[in-house]
Amino acid sequence: MAGMVETSDAAEGRMRLTVLGGFLGSGKTTWLRHQLHHGLLADAFVVVNEAAETPVDDALLSQSAELAVVAGGCACCEARDELVALLRDICDRRVSAEGRRPDRIVIETSGLADPGPIVSAIRSDPMLAYHIVISEIVVAVDAVYGLEQLRQEPLSRRQMELADRLVVTKIDEADEAALARLLATLKAINPGAAISGAVKGSDAALPDSGSAEPEVLGEVGDGGAPIRALKLEIGEDIDWTAFSVWLSALIHARGDDILRVKGVVRTPAGRLLLQSVRKIVQSPEILPDDRPLGDDNGLVFIGRGFGTDQLARSLRHFAGLRE
């Protein structure tokens, strides 16, 4: 695995750190949640980085031993200093006599983060280098959209190229021939990486890529307009029905530009965790009702070609519709 796995000597006395990356909606949190549940990373200190200012994933990772959130920017650029400070703090705690001493740290990066600068930030900081050994870069790859992301998003390609382990997620949803082609392409762009499959976070056997030809990837441009994360306040008394008519139309019309939507919405049926990846919206999960009201009813939109004001005006229009 590309020389990134620690030897027992190198890791001795140091905390092992796993960087979990992958493009927006590739299934990072789902995979991590499952690893936490099954005890593979059960004692890990989990650091979640989110590009948007409102974290959502932390609600899903309550099974981790300890959790910290770095929100409001990618840990590879705007929030890098914050991440380094947080990791230093964990190291400090480890050498002090008090509290739990984690042996393992998992950083779940935002979908817009390049794992490269995160790894170099940790390696170039003397204190972190002394306490932490980077054991693995795991990158989640969406079985359905992975190839398209490789073609269109330079960032997505960089993430996959850097991985020690590629976890191809949602393999039950992908067409067999397309999946074989994706696997062949992944082997071509990152021959050193171990590749495994997952369905809803559990390991699943991958089909043999057999005679599938890898896609010849051209130079990717800058991917068009930059991808931005923005937050839309939807109000506590949102009319769910009008909202769902609006969002379903928006995702249908703009699904290629709206790469990700996620957030928690309060409805008569409970607190719903809503998330979409392009045109696919997951069945909303019903979350426990344990947060104060003000924490909810903001939706994070990640994509290009739209602004907060446009979204807010459009939603207001739909919510006010009467025959």
């Binding site: 899903l60 809803k200 029905t241 379903s248 139309a249 069945s283 229009h317 025959e323």
Partner: protein, 99 residues
């Protein structure tokens, strides 16, 4: 979501997740038809849901009718019938004028 490590997922199409009781579901269907009926006529389409049969009835001005299961199918069918996707970010929906 995996039942061992996740939270329960709401059943059915995601747009119907906001109503849990039969009463709420019925009210949501009428409200959904109301919102659709204020959007679609501008595109030469009509929507009706009498809550007697499952699904939403879509019609064209020429009188042809079709029944679709959920909102996802409404937008796909509307795009097929009117020749273009109905985009909520279209100026007609984000202008200052109220309907």
């Amino acid at each position: 979501m995996c039942s061992s490590c996740g939270f329960p997922a709401a059943p059915g199409h995601w747009t119907e997740a906001g109503a849990a009781t039969p009463h709420d579901r019925l009210r949501a269907r009428f409200r959904r038809a109301q919102v659709l009926q204020s959007v679609l006529p501008a595109y030469g389409l009509t929507a009706h849901d009498g809550a007697q049969v499952p699904g939403i009835q879509l019609g064209t001005l020429s009188g042809s009718q079709t029944i679709v299961r959920d909102l996802e199918e409404v937008w796909a069918e509307a795009e097929r019938l009117s020749g273009k996707a109905i985009d909520p970010l279209d100026p007609r929906f984000i202008g200052e004028e109220t309907p």
